[in-house]
């Protein structure tokens, strides 16, 4: 296996652990926003789309690249915006005792 792939696997495994650990018990009210936010992050594939489309080789790849960028951008832009809308209900009550974690 190439060095690059192995490094990729190591990074993948570690990142997956971070992903597992970073989500502690989430209150159900946050299930949908969290899902939506995570989904927007998975739009990171936009980076791949830009790379592929940008290098531009052949019509098929170009069309696929354009479609990929479009789809990924929808995911990213729409995802973050809609998450923010959902979360606007959690504005902090000023009276509640400040408790940050």
């Amino acid at each position: 296996m190439s060095e690059l792939v192995i490094t990729g696997i190591v990074v993948f495994v570690l990142a997956a652990f971070v992903g597992f650990e970073v989500i502690s018990k989430v209150p159900p009210t946050l299930h949908t926003p969290l899902m939506s936010g995570a989904n927007a992050i998975s739009g990171i594939t936009i980076v791949g789309a830009i790379t592929t489309a940008g290098l531009g080789s052949g019509t098929v790849a170009a069309v696929l690249g354009f479609l990929a960028i479009t789809a990924a951008t929808i995911n990213v832009v729409g995802g973050f915006l809609v998450t923010d809308r959902m979360l606007s209900m959690f504005r902090n009550r000023p009276k509640a005792k400040a408790r940050d974690d």
Partner: protein
């Protein structure tokens, strides 16, 4: 350098995800994650030697406008289906990138590892795409919400999956581009067939699982184009999404397997008949609702007495008061089964007399109250006594809890109370039903309020 900037973006994703899990920090978490994305995109635009700027910019503009437009305009109630649609795009994008890269490099010259990664990306990405849009259709009402399928659905899907693996092997072996397209087509069908047999009520769990899939697809694409940002970001979402999926099915008291495969396996155990018409809430939902309220009025009833929940109730009130929430109690004159029934029990729990309001004192207060929590009361908060002249209890003065912003009702079922009549309160839009024994519900509520 670009790698380190990608790392910075990944760190922002991590921090963003973590903060998304707590009500107090969720919004800032989303902002941080979106900044991470901005960093990643800008870095890529700068770093890549883009030759086809037109394509790239066109894609960004078109995608951005669609995403932003839809996100702004959609109703709050259609959020889950919107997430499904976005998720589908994400999966599609990953599959497309992998395919494009495959075509760019040439299907016959690609390395085995990259080939496997491409197969994963295409397979998972397309399943995400088609599955998400089926979920979207079910939630939007474009497709029937009920499970669609037949006895052998699961077996058929298994067979298709095996077939997809075989096709991928063939594609890798032969380097035929047609094989890759076939693979994409087959997995697209798999996504459709896998989601159709799942009921509409379970769609949120399915969407969450598909969200995890779209992360995995992105990670696989990362292997295809050897990009650490995709690998880290994708792995993060894949793992976090999976955990979230488990938590969501747990919140429904179901196992994930039960959600995904049960409908035609026989075990199907959905919520009961007319309970569908109410807003069911979980302890955590209620805890958040209470914890962020300014004022809460508690309406105890006979169910509190039956559950002997007076001490647990006091604990919830203490936890709320510790957060600065104002708590009072509205005592209906005939709550319980004897005159002064509630008084005895609340006195046992040493709830201060000056927090007790009688009917005359409390009714003018409800419309300026954020949350009323009805603990095992029923007849005494039945609006038909006020509004429905044909009701057998018409004319009995009630507590007008429906005038408050939100009503939480804790009882075990939709069973009627002493008077034996149905209660329209339970079906109101601003009513949340928490079906549980009052004592147990309040005990876990205390913990959730402290943590909220």
């Amino acid at each position: 350098m670009i790698e380190l900037l990608y790392l910075a973006a990944a760190v922002m994703f991590i921090i963003g995800l973590k903060r998304l899990g707590h009500p107090r920090t969720a919004r800032s978490g989303n902002t941080i994650a979106s900044l991470g994305m901005l960093v990643a995109v800008v870095v890529t635009l700068v770093d890549t030697e883009i030759v086809t700027w037109a394509t790239v910019i066109a894609g960004l503009v078109v995608g951005g406008s669609i995403g932003a437009g839809v996100a702004r305009r959609v109703q709050m109630t259609s959020m889950p289906e919107l997430v499904a649609a976005f998720n589908g795009s994400g999966g599609a994008a990953s599959a497309l990138v992998a395919l494009a890269e495959m075509i760019r490099i040439g299907p016959d010259t690609v390395a085995v590892e990259a080939g496997i990664a491409t197969a994963l990306s295409v397979g998972i990405g397309t399943v995400t795409l088609s599955g998400s849009f089926i979920a979207f259709g079910k939630l939007q009402g474009l497709l029937p919400g009920r499970p669609i399928g037949f006895e052998g659905t699961n077996a058929l899907n298994g067979a298709i999956a095996v077939g997809a693996v075989a096709i991928a092997g063939w594609a890798l072996a032969t380097g035929s581009i047609g094989a890759w397209w076939l693979l994409a087509g087959v997995t697209l069908v798999l996504g459709v067939l896998a989601v159709l047999p799942i009921g509409g009520a379970d769609m949120p769990v399915v969407i969450s699982l598909l969200n995890s899939f779209s992360g995995l697809a992105a990670a696989a694409t990362g292997f295809v184009i050897a990009n650490s940002a995709l690998i880290i970001g994708g792995a993060l979402v894949g793992a976090a999404g999976l955990i979230l999926t488990f938590q969501m099915s747990e919140a429904m008291n179901r196992s994930l397997a039960n959600v995904l495969f049960s409908k035609f396996g026989g075990v199907a155990a959905g919520p009961a008949g007319d309970a569908d018409a109410v807003n069911r809430a979980t302890t955590e939902d209620v805890a958040i609702t209470l914890a962020y309220a300014n004022s809460v009025i508690v309406v105890p009833g006979y169910g509190m007495a039956v559950a002997q929940a007076q001490y647990a109730l006091r604990d919830v009130a203490d936890a709320l008061e510790a957060r600065g929430v104002k708590v009072t109690y509205a005592i209906h004159p005939v709550a319980g089964r004897m005159p002064g029934h509630m008084n005895v029990l609340l006195a046992e729990a040493d709830i201060p007399y000056d927090q007790l309001l009688d009917l005359e004192q409390s009714n003018p207060k409800f419309h300026q109250t954020d949350v009323v929590i009805v603990v095992g009361a029923n007849d005494v908060v039945n609006p038909s006594a006020r509004d429905d002249a044909t009701s057998p209890i018409y004319g009995m003065p009630i507590l007008d809890v429906d005038h408050s912003k939100t009503v939480v009702v804790i009882k075990r079922s939709l069973s009627p109370g002493f008077a034996g009549i149905d209660n329209p309160l339970f079906y109101l839009d601003n009513t949340l039903m928490l079906f549980a024994d009052a004592k147990e519900a309040l005990e876990s509520l205390t913990r959730s309020v402290v943590d909220a």
